[in-house]
Homo-oligomer: 243 residues x 2
Amino acid sequence: MTATVLTAPHLAAMRRLQSLSPLDGPAAAAIERAADRSRRVERRAEAFREGQDVHGAFLLLEGWTARIRQLPDGRRQLVSFGLPGDLLGYCQFDGARASSTMAALTAVTICHLPDPALSPALTRAFAISRALDEAYLIAHVTRLGRLNAHERLIDFLLELYERLEPCGLAEAGRFLIPLTQEAIADALGLTPVHLNRTLQEARRNGELTWTGREVTLHDPNAAAVAVGHTRARVCAFPAPSGA
Amino acid sequence: MTATVLTAPHLAAMRRLQSLSPLDGPAAAAIERAADRSRRVERRAEAFREGQDVHGAFLLLEGWTARIRQLPDGRRQLVSFGLPGDLLGYCQFDGARASSTMAALTAVTICHLPDPALSPALTRAFAISRALDEAYLIAHVTRLGRLNAHERLIDFLLELYERLEPCGLAEAGRFLIPLTQEAIADALGLTPVHLNRTLQEARRNGELTWTGREVTLHDPNAAAVAVGHTRARVCAFPAPSGA
DNA sequence: CGACGGTTTGACTAGGCTCAAAGATCGTGG
DNA sequence: CCACGATCTTTGAGCCTAGTCAAACCGTCG
């Protein structure tokens, strides 16, 4: 991996969309154009709040976001994650309101979503992206409903890995994870303490390495079998890489 | 309640769609026409299976369906429910594959989904319906991740109540629930045994009555406050009834 | 150095799970 | 109309996973 290459901030997003549906000239140009007028959002900022009107849709170019549900008594649930190339706030009707708060987990770069009508390839890529969002939600429901702490952790890391791969942000089971253990616990419906113990056990078992912000799953395929993880798949053709 | 009135099987669905976006003439006509060629699916049948191609979208006219995720070792998760007026398998791109199995929980009547292009009102109603589906998934994630057994149960029943109300299938906290305790347990990520105990406690507390297939939430508003439940809301205008 | 955000540890508790069996309920057919 | 089987609900006893509370540790940034 050539780590020091200067990459345009929208490259990962571009690669991800490309992997959903091959982008034709107009599609690629539209994204380039949109990315030129990108906006920076700092860590912990909220893009929009639950119940607020949604003002236009965005494309996430860099960084991680999360949908967060907060209960009256302070309990928190991270409902879903936005990774580079994901669509944020993409609603197809007027007067839409956010059903959860969207927060930046890291510093984030976003741009306005190009009009899908500009290219059939874009229309298709966006539709597939939405379907994937739903598939990830479904996977998360199953994770929280029926997996134990260890299974939740591994299944979750596998999902992140599989989502970062098409962006070029993960390779050989290794990727950067900018999440605190507390955030992961809030995503997995566990307490930070218990998540920490679960993590340590996974390390002791040799399933993964976790140094600073970098995770390595030593054998993603074996791990997937072990916890019954299946890769999200919403489309018959273009086969996801590695399928 | 006039219990013996003969109602057309698609009336509940019609009412629900109407509540999402006022239907104009062409929209209502299109639904009537589609409903004329309805199809019956018996209990326990599967409309489509995880990983299969999705062949067209359907409108659920009568009965309940569920998306079911089954783990290799037999654990089951009911991911979401389809109630009258809900859209099933509505994907907006070719080659879509189901990300979970859709099963009929009761005998079910469905019809093909009219082409949304027939009317802007239809387009809008379908888009809102999709957004609601997502909101229900988000609510379910939060339920499973951060609520305890009692809260899960009440929060879940409140959601069903609020969804059945616009169909005219619920009133004054009362509705028919065609689910076994096992199914509810599989939805709420609990064991049937524990769900049963939780239910009994709720009855003893006077929170609800459960006779045969009929549930009554004695005070939905109070219950909502008690468990921190908030009604799903994806659109600024037409205000949902009771808001 | 001290403060801060994050991770790790320990000791104890409790909510929910397991296994197993007994009771209800309901549809069906004799 | 009752008997039967299947399905669903209820109960009991013991266990275990994950939660709670509290404190120590660690790195890093000012």
